[in-house]
Amino acid sequence: MGLEIINTLILLLLVVAALVALRVKDLITASVVFGVYSFLMCLLWAEMGAVDVAFTEATVGAGISTVVLVATIFNLKRKSSD
């Protein structure tokens, strides 16, 4: 029962994070929210018992790819046009 609640909470937060990442104007904010999304995916996988995948998601998805995105956006115009 406890796991069900945690699962539902994570899945709801995932949807919220995805929508925020799409709607937000500032690209840095969007990429940080993507990091949050990746970390929530990592929690979900860890909770399902796929710890290896969760570990990869935490290091690559939430860690490096956020840093690389932010580093790239610093060299661009930061606002999205639409």
Partner: protein, 249 residues
């Protein structure tokens, strides 16, 4: 335009939801993935064949060794592509960007990083070497190691990180990783097996066939770790400085 694009999105979303009702229950032993002869073979034989407790690592580095090797090559090619596009060899003085201000690195940040970086690096070695027993392996260990160099570049500037890991050495290390992986494959071929058939390494290692596979897996994981570390850092270094390899973020 925005509203017309909404129609296919909603349609595909509806189809995905409709298809998801066909999924088996999570952890269902009757599901196709769990009941296929391949998974039962791995579950029954991994411990016997390779003495590796972590089945995921055994499948990744041994049973599907070819796949992982070419995955590493893909990482290498991606790094090469970014370098080929971005790397700027001209010696011209760069134009200052808008947000660029020259400030001393923050004392608190740099001292925290001084403390944290050795811990990250030791942890990355642990993840790499302990990948057989616990979650982890070459990719995760390599990314952690690369992240420690990126942390140095973030808190001081790129030059400081590049004195520790010069970009030319990056490329050598990245190529060395793949060479190590393929070298173990070729070595097992030379000893009479097939490419990446680690069990044949028992002829050069003083261990049983099972333990030869165990140790060869560590060898290929180290190769993967080398490539991933170098490429992650080279990617960051080139992307954050438009290929000029200088300055902070």
């Amino acid at each position: 335009m925005k509203n017309t694009s909404l129609i296919p999105v909603v349609l595909v979303g509806f189809l995905l939801f409709y298809a998801s009702t066909d999924f088996p229950e999570w952890g269902d032993p009757q599901s196709p993935a769990s009941s296929s002869p391949v998974s039962s073979h791995f579950i029954a034989k991994t411990g016997v064949d390779t003495e590796v407790p972590n089945m995921v690592t055994a499948v990744l580095a041994d049973y599907r060794g070819f796949d992982t090797m070419l995955e590493t090559v893909v990482v290498f090619i991606a790094g090469m592509a970014v370098l080929a596009i971005l790397r700027n060899f001209s010696r011209k003085k760069p134009v200052k960007r808008g947000h660029e201000v020259s400030v001393e690195p923050d004392l608190i940040v740099t001292n925290t990083v001084r403390l944290v970086v050795p811990v990250i690096q030791i942890f990355s070695f642990y993840v790499l070497a302990h990948g057989h027993v616990s979650p982890g392996g070459g990719f995760q260990g390599g990314v952690l190691m690369g992240a420690s160099f990126i942390l140095i570049a973030l808190s001081w500037d790129l030059e400081r990180a590049l004195t520790r890991f010069p970009i030319n050495r990056c490329m050598v290390v990245a190529a060395l990783g793949i060479l190590l992986y393929a070298g173990i494959g070729v070595l097992s071929m030379a000893l009479g097996g097939e490419f990446l058939d680690y069990a044949e390494l028992e002829k050069v290692l003083p261990v049983s066939r099972e333990m030869a596979r165990y140790h060869a897996m560590l060898g290929v994981e180290i190769g993967v770790g080398f490539t991933v570390t170098a490429i992650m850092f080279a990617l960051y270094a080139n992307l954050s400085s438009r290929g000029r390899l200088e300055g902070g973020l």
